[in-house]
C-alpha cells in the first residue's frame, strides 16, 4: 500500500508532529515500505489464530488497593515550565 503525502500529514497531525515538506516526502517513502511489509503479513492465513495482546507469555500481576505514594508535588513541578497555586500551566485550551 503506497501512501500519499496527505496521509502522512494527517498521521503527523494526529501525533502532533511538525513535518516540513522534505521530511514529509521522506516519510511517504519510509512508511510506504513499512506498510508493504504489513501487506505481506496480512496475506498469511490466520484463520483460527487468536489475536495476540502481548508478546510475553505472562499475565498481569495485581497490586493491593493501598495508598503507597506520598505528595511530591514540589519535586515534580520543579521541571514544569509554568506553575501557579499548585496547578501546571499550559497554553490556553479552547474547545
Amino acid at each position: 500500500m503506497a501512501l500519499e503525502p496527505e496521509d502522512v500529514r494527517r498521521a503527523a497531525h494526529l501525533a502532533r508532529l511538525g513535518l516540513d515538506d522534505r521530511e514529509a516526502a521522506r516519510y511517504v517513502d519510509d512508511l510506504s515500505r513499512i506498510l508493504e511489509m504489513v501487506d505481506r503479513l496480512q496475506a498469511v492465513d490466520t484463520q483460527g489464530v487468536a489475536p495476540l495482546a502481548h508478546p510475553l507469555d505472562a499475565t498481569q500481576r495485581l497490586r493491593a488497593d493501598e495508598v503507597t505514594e506520598s505528595d511530591q508535588r514540589e519535586r515534580f513541578q520543579r521541571c514544569a515550565p509554568a506553575v501557579e497555586n499548585g496547578l501546571y500551566l499550559v497554553p490556553r485550551v479552547v474547545e
Binding site: 502532533r16 495482546a53 497490586r63 488497593d65 497555586n85 497554553p91
Partner: protein, 483 residues
C-alpha cells in the same frame, strides 16, 4: 406520524478504591491540586502502571450483579488523543476485550412493571485530570489529582424507548453500584457521569435513525430533560424536511436545550492498540466465585422478596428497594414491629416526608430504625391511635425522648379504649353543644355523616387525642341518633 425514540446510555462510574487504577496515589476527593498525582499519573518517562486489584474486584462484582459473563481474559488498550489533562497522550481503557461481558439490568417503569435492559459490556479505564479555564494570564491550569482514578464504563444496548426509561435505567445502575458499595454514586461530585445516544424512527420501522450523542449529563433529572428535548428536536427537524446529522451535542440545563459540539467529520481518530505496558488480565474461576460469595442481595432481588414474601405492592417494594440505606432501614423497622405493611407505610409517608422536607438523607435520620420500629409496634397493638403516633414521631424527631414507649408514658398518650371513660367525655360534649346537637337532629340522615365530625373533634380534643377514634364515632352516633 408516530415516532419512536431509540436510546442507549454510556454510564461512567467512579469506583470507590483508596488508590488509583494503575498507581498507589490516593483518590480522596478535594485535596490540594496535584498533591495526589504521582509519577505514573503524570506519565513521566520510565514509569510502569500496575493494575489495582480493588478496581478489578469492583468491576467483576458489578458484572456478577447484572448476571453478565465474566470473560477469563481482558486486555487494556490505549485510546490516543492529545489534551493537557491527559499527560500520557493516551487514556488506558479496554476497547476490544472488556472485563465485563453482556449482562442485563431490570428497570421499574411508572406503572410498576419491569423491563430488562441489555448491557453490551462494561470496561475499566482511567479518568483524566481537570482543566481550569479561569484566567491564569491567558493560560489554562491543570490539576491531575483525578488522573488515573478508576472508572467503570457501562455501555447499554439501545433498548431504552423514552426519557423516563433512560432515567429509570440510570437510577437502577445507581442502586446497583451503591448496593455493591463499589461507588459512592455521588453525581454532584462527578462519581457518576453519563453520555446518551438518541435517535428517532417512525414507529414500526426496523432500521435505526441517525443518532446524536449528548455528552456529560450529570443528574437524573437532566438526563430525562436532555433526552426529552433531543427527541423533540429530532422529530421536529425530520417533520420539517430536514435530516439528523451524526454529531456530539452538549446539554445546557439553564436553556433546557442541546447544542452542537462537533460533527463526525472532525471527530477524533483514537488509534486504539493494546497497551504494551500492561499484560492481559486473567481471572480464574476461584477468584470470580469468591467475589460472587460476597455479593449482597441486590435491588431487583429485594424488590421481588418485598412483594412475594412481605406482601408489599409493586410500587412500595420498588421505592423501598431503591437504595440500600432505605431498604436496610425499612427491614430494621419491620423486624422490630413485626408488620411489613405498617412499617412500609411509616417509612414512606411519615419518615420520607419529613426527611424530604428537611433535605436529609435517610442515613442522617434523627429517628433511628429501632425507634421507629418501637413506635410502629405501639400503633400495631393499638396502645396509641394514629394521631398520638404522629405526636410521638415528632417528639422522637426532635430528640425529646429515647423511645416511643418513654414518650407515650411521659405524655400520657396511651389510647383510651375504656367505654365508660369515652362515654363520659361524649356526654360532656353533648351537654356543652346544645345548638350543634339540635342542628344535627333536625338534619336529614344522609347529611349527618358530615356533621358528626364536629362532635368527634370535640371529644378527641377533650381526650387530648388519646381516645380511640373508631369507638368515639360509634358511641357518638348511637347517643346522637337514639336519644
Amino acid at each position: 406520524m408516530q415516532w419512536e425514540a431509540v436510546i442507549g446510555l454510556e454510564v461512567h462510574v467512579q469506583l470507590a478504591t483508596q488508590s488509583k487504577i494503575f498507581s498507589g496515589a490516593s483518590t480522596a476527593f478535594g485535596a490540594e491540586p496535584n498533591t495526589q498525582a504521582c509519577a505514573v499519573d503524570l506519565g513521566l518517562p520510565g514509569v510502569l502502571p500496575v493494575l489495582n486489584e480493588g478496581a478489578v474486584a469492583m468491576a467483576v462484582k458489578f458484572g456478577l450483579g447484572i448476571n453478565a459473563e465474566i470473560p477469563e481474559t481482558s486486555v487494556f488498550d490505549r485510546k490516543n488523543y492529545f489534551y493537557p489533562d491527559l499527560p500520557k497522550g493516551y487514556q488506558t481503557s479496554q476497547m476490544y476485550q472488556p472485563i465485563v461481558g453482556p449482562g442485563e439490568v431490570e428497570i421499574t417503569l411508572d406503572d410498576g412493571t419491569t423491563k430488562r435492559i441489555r448491557v453490551h459490556h462494561a470496561h475499566l479505564e482511567e479518568d483524566a485530570g481537570k482543566s481550569l479555564h479561569e484566567d491564569f494570564h491567558g493560560m489554562t491550569g491543570i490539576d491531575l489529582n483525578r488522573a488515573g482514578t478508576p472508572l467503570l464504563e457501562i455501555v447499554s444496548e439501545p433498548d431504552l424507548r423514552s426519557a423516563r426509561e433512560a432515567a429509570a435505567y440510570l437510577k437502577a445502575i445507581h442502586a446497583i453500584v451503591t448496593y455493591l458499595g463499589i461507588s459512592d454514586g455521588n453525581m454532584a461530585e462527578g462519581s457518576m457521569r453519563c453520555d446518551v445516544n438518541v435517535s428517532v424512527r417512525p414507529k414500526g420501522q426496523e432500521t435505526l435513525g441517525t443518532r446524536a450523542e449528548i455528552k456529560n449529563v450529570n443528574s437524573f433529572r437532566f438526563v430525562e430533560k436532555a433526552i426529552a428535548h433531543e427527541i423533540e428536536r429530532q422529530v421536529e427537524l425530520i417533520e420539517d424536511g430536514g435530516t439528523v446529522v451524526q454529531e456530539t451535542r452538549l446539554y445546557d440545563p439553564e436553556a433546557d436545550e442541546t447544542r452542537s459540539m462537533r460533527t463526525k467529520e472532525e471527530a477524533n481518530d483514537y488509534r486504539y492498540f493494546p497497551c504494551p505496558d500492561l499484560l492481559p488480565v486473567v481471572l480464574d474461576q476461584a477468584y470470580v466465585d469468591h467475589l460472587r460469595a460476597t455479593l449482597p442481595e441486590l435491588p431487583a432481588e429485594k424488590r421481588a422478596r418485598f412483594q412475594d414474601e412481605l406482601g408489599l405492592s409493586a410500587y412500595d417494594a420498588s421505592v423501598l428497594a431503591s437504595s440500600r440505606a432505605m431498604a436496610e432501614y425499612f427491614e430494621a423497622v419491620k423486624d422490630v414491629c413485626g408488620d411489613a405493611k405498617l412499617a412500609a407505610n411509616w417509612v414512606q409517608v411519615e419518615l420520607a416526608g419529613r426527611l424530604n422536607k428537611e433535605g436529609l438523607d435517610i442515613a442522617d435520620s434523627p429517628v433511628t430504625a429501632e425507634q421507629l420500629g418501637g413506635l410502629v409496634a405501639r400503633v400495631k397493638d393499638e396502645t396509641i391511635n394514629g394521631k398520638a403516633a404522629k405526636q410521638v414521631f415528632a417528639a422522637l424527631w426532635d430528640g425529646e425522648g429515647e423511645s416511643a414507649d418513654a414518650i407515650i408514658e411521659a405524655r400520657g398518650l396511651k389510647q383510651v379504649t375504656d367505654t365508660g371513660a369515652i362515654e363520659a367525655m361524649i356526654d360532656q360534649v353533648i351537654a356543652d353543644s346544645p345548638v350543634q346537637v339540635a342542628q344535627y337532629r333536625e338534619a336529614a340522615p344522609e347529611k349527618r355523616g358530615k356533621m358528626i365530625g364536629y362532635f368527634v373533634g370535640q371529644v378527641m380534643k377533650a381526650s387530648r387525642g388519646t381516645a380511640n377514634p373508631q369507638q368515639v364515632n360509634a358511641l357518638l352516633k348511637d347517643k346522637l341518633d337514639n336519644a
